[in-house]
């Protein structure tokens, strides 16, 4: 029985879980940014003019917090230059590969041997070499997460909530590859060194829960935990609370309370890297919104967004917004020539109909933001003080502890831009800390010089 937590909202699901994962034609060119994870950017391992095979490692970095990047198609490197990153928005060094259409596979990574499949370190090494990152959106290198949790983590939680509206990638993976998924979870569990993995799945995926349970998950050390349907059930802290009743400390990580959370698609990627020797080069993308025909498609990383949209028949109605990821925590896209990256789970094309913003947002002090905040913060006050740049009160009302789930903003009848303001506030606090630190250092240096 999962544990309850405070707050949360119930947006319309808008999901299309019955659409089987389809494949689209491969793009003539892919644009792969050298930064598809949190941590140090990769250095290119290839030169312009090199021929690369599908799955060949083309970028890496020796820094501990990093995940290597692989070619998602076979072909010729035609450029290594700054290109726009679809989430960051800045120009980021990227590798452009001209697709030869052959998908010649790379054989650098062999499937692990049965002995290796039981060796935690061999699995961990393969997870890193396979370029696996958190596919829920954070893109945190999975190997680093597992390694960092060793010795601290006693409970492994697999995140199958997929609580954001429109998204079906995890649900489709459960239905289409249940056995591989369970095997992938087993690998993560072995690498983490725990006996049981709790697999939290929202009850709106009952067919997937039944299917997984029919495969005897216990033999893989997996326990399925059906969870209440509520956004943001799939947030890390909420998953930890729901499965273990432990609360992650403000500013802390799940490993601080002995938990690690790994997402569904990540586990399947681990399976493919270990059992098949296939690095992470593609993912299921849920396409939705009123301006496009809904679909769940398998897409290679680096595929330009416009190419995906065109392959699916283009916009069916006048477009207002293109959103990457879920509608609650995703990003607005402003340049459809960017290549798809690892953490993007959805491509949503919205018309004016979905836009409920107003010209003059007004707080009516209804307190509904407080009622839904899963972190039990007070968005109404955080908003007020952030706009005033009152740093003392911003700290007092814990602006930095907001994890930007968007529940308050979704629920706000006055249509205030709460979450975007908190994002700005967090950036302001960071910039100020940096400034104060620089100032203090300069003063210390001055004093030193005076002596």
């Amino acid at each position: 029985m999962p544990f309850k937590y405070y707050g949360g909202v119930h947006p319309d699901e808008m999901k299309q879980p019955d659409l089987a994962t389809s494949f689209i034609a491969q793009p003539p060119q892919v644009v792969i940014p050298l930064q598809m994870h949190i941590g140090a950017p990769c250095q290119p391992l290839v030169k312009v003019g090199d021929h690369v095979t599908m799955g060949q490692k083309i970028g890496d970095n020796d820094a501990p917090l990093c995940a290597p990047i692989h070619a998602s198609v076979s072909g010729t490197v035609v450029a290594i230059e700054p290109r726009r990153h679809c989430v960051v928005g800045d120009l980021v060094p990227s590798i452009v590969i001209e697709n030869d259409g052959l998908d010649t596979p790379c054989t650098d990574l062999a499937p692990l041997t049965p002995e290796q499949l039981k060796d935690p370190d061999a699995i961990l090494d393969r997870i890193r070499e396979g370029g696996v990152v958190g596919m829920g959106g954070a893109m945190f290198p999975t190997a680093f997460k597992i390694q960092g949790g060793r010795g601290k983590v006693d409970t492994l939680i697999i995140n199958g909530a997929e609580c954001e509206p429109y998204l079906n990638g995890d649900h489709r993976t459960m239905l289409e590859h249940p056995e591989e998924l369970l095997k992938g979870i087993e690998l993560v569990r072995i690498a983490q060194g725990v006996d049981t993995a709790y697999y939290g799945i929202e009850e709106n995926k009952q067919d997937a829960i039944d299917l997984l349970n029919s495969l005897n998950p216990a033999q893989y050390g997996v326990v399925i935990v059906p969870e209440k349907v509520k956004y943001p059930q799939g947030a890390e802290k909420m998953q930890v609370k729901a499965n273990t009743n432990r609360e992650v400390k403000p500013g802390g990580l799940p490993s601080g309370v002995g938990c690690n959370v790994v997402s569904t698609f990540t586990c399947w990627s681990v399976y493919r890297a270990c059992y098949e020797g296939r690095p992470l080069i593609e993912r299921v993308l849920s396409v939705g919104g009123t301006a496009i025909k809904p679909a769940n498609v398998m897409v290679r990383f680096g595929t330009p967004l416009q190419f995906i949209i065109d392959q699916l028949g283009g916009f069916t109605r006048p477009i207002d917004r293109v959103v990457l990821g879920g509608p609650m925590m995703g990003f607005a896209s402003f340049d459809q020539s960017c290549g798809l990256i690892k953490g993007i789970s959805g491509l949503l094309c919205f018309t004016e109909d979905e836009n409920r913003d107003v010209e003059n947002p007004t707080c009516i002090r209804c307190g509904k933001c407080i009622e839904v905040c899963p972190m039990k913060l007070q968005p109404i006050h955080m908003y007020m003080y952030t706009l005033k740049k009152d740093f003392d009160n911003m700290a007092k009302f814990h602006v930095t502890d907001c994890f930007e789930c968007g529940s308050c903003t979704y629920n706000c009848p006055g249509r205030l831009p709460l979450t975007p303001t908190f994002k700005m506030g967090k950036a302001m606090i960071k910039a100020r800390e940096f400034e104060l630190k620089a100032k203090a250092e300069a003063e210390a240096a001055k004093k030193e010089a005076e002596k």
């Binding site: 937590y5 405070y6 909202v9 947006p11 509206p165 802290k237 609370k241 609360e247 992650v248 400390k249 403000p250 477009i319 917004r321 293109v322 959103v323 990821g325 509608p327 609650m328 925590m329 995703g330 990003f331 607005a332 896209s333 402003f334 340049d335 919205f350 979905e354 836009n355 409920r356 913003d357 107003v358 003059n360 007004t362 707080c363 009516i364 002090r365 209804c366 307190g367 407080i370 905040c373 899963p374 972190m375 039990k376 913060l377 007070q378 109404i380 006050h381 009302f397 502890d401 930007e404 968007g406 979704y410 706000c412 009848p413 006055g414 249509r415 831009p417 979450t419 975007p420 994002k423």
Partner: protein, 344 residues
């Protein structure tokens, strides 16, 4: 390139719940409908005319003020309509129209718009408007028309309300029984007479999640508990409690006035304190005050405390246990004390 710039770029989330301010205000108006029906049943056209005039006046004043001050128009959010209805709901059915209109002006312009409009005022506009009118036109504001249900038993056109008898500690006349007071066959302000109709509105607001149970339940609960404990000579304790719950503006105040978003606390804990405070003050005024009715002043006084209550009842953050919070508070206190001693 140009086409790309047409895309609307903003921060997440990209979807919003259907309920906006206008919908909330519409829900409040719908919740007031049963009480309005009872008012029309008991006071006839007089009720319809006063409600209509009040709503039109409020919307006009809000529109005119915002226009004059060159601010964006806010009449579409329907909050002015709600103020108009609520203000006239706490006036007697026979009150002259000029009193209604002056009350509307004070409520909308003085209490609401001068402080910045919806969400910024610190007093409930309808109640403040009523308080001004009660001070300015005490006679007109306490002259009660005879409801149609009592026309056959009462001579004349005006009569005393049950609350007047309760205040004086006199036994209620025979034609006031508890059931009639619950249904609304009694004299009183236009919208307050029917406890049943107001409870129906309360249920609707709860189902629509416009308000939470916290303020109305703690408010009415406090009044119930206190009147049950202290009673009054000449009445049975339970009887006295039920009379108190079904008379005056208690239900209208607890369901529609005290829950006004802008003038009630935003924190759940604060809402509980606010409700208890309103109930306590209501009972105090009903027992010891000069007026028979204490609901409106109780709420107005608590309105002034909202900011302090909000500050005193912060949410306990996720990940912080009650013990940890207590320890942190004690540590902060000890630190302050140490700093003081060091200064001394």
């Amino acid at each position: 390139m140009e086409e790309k710039m047409l895309y609307h770029v903003s921060g997440a989330p990209f979807i919003r719940a259907k309920t906006d301010t206008q919908r909330i205000m519409l829900d409040v108006l719908i919740a007031l409908l049963p009480a309005f029906c009872v008012a029309v049943w008991q006071f006839g056209a007089a009720a319809i005319i006063r409600v209509a005039v009040s709503v039109i006046a409020c919307v006009f004043f809000e529109f005119a003020y915002r226009k004059l001050m060159k601010k964006n128009s806010t009449i579409h959010d329907l909050s002015a309509c709600v103020t108009g209805v609520l203000l006239v709901f706490c006036m007697p059915a026979g009150v002259p129209l000029f009193v209604v209109i002056i009350g509307d002006f004070l409520a909308i312009v003085l209490v609401k718009q001068l402080y910045g409009g919806i969400g910024k005022n610190f007093l409930n506009p309808a109640l403040a408007g009523r308080a001004f009118m009660l001070a300015g036109y005490a006679g007109l504001m306490t002259t009660w028309a005879v409801p149609s249900a009592l026309k056959t038993v009462v001579d004349g056109t005006t009569m005393a309300t049950p609350l007047t008898y309760l205040k004086a500690g006199e036994a209620l006349p025979e034609y006031f029984n508890l059931m009639d007071m619950f249904i609304g066959k009694v004299p009183g302000c236009i919208g307050e007479i029917s406890t049943a109709a107001l409870l129906l509105g309360f249920l609707y607001l709860l189902v629509r999640k416009v308000i939470s149970w916290r303020i109305p339940v703690t408010f009415v609960g406090t009044v119930a508990v206190l009147t049950l404990i202290f009673g009054k000579s000449g009445y049975g304790n339970v009887e006295w409690m039920l009379f108190n719950l079904c008379s005056g503006g208690l239900m209208l105040g607890a369901v529609f006035m005290a829950t006004d978003y802008c003038t009630s606390p935003v924190t759940p804990k604060g809402q509980l304190i606010f409700g208890v405070g309103c109930g306590l003050l209501t009972v105090l005024i009903r027992y010891f005050g000069g007026y028979p009715e204490g609901v409106s002043y109780a709420i107005l006084i608590m309105n002034l405390l909202v900011w302090a209550i909000d500050k005193a009842t912060p949410q306990r953050q996720f990940g912080i246990s009650a013990q940890e919070l207590k320890a942190a508070k004690q540590a902060a206190k000890a630190e302050k004390k140490a700093a003081k001693e060091a200064q001394a």
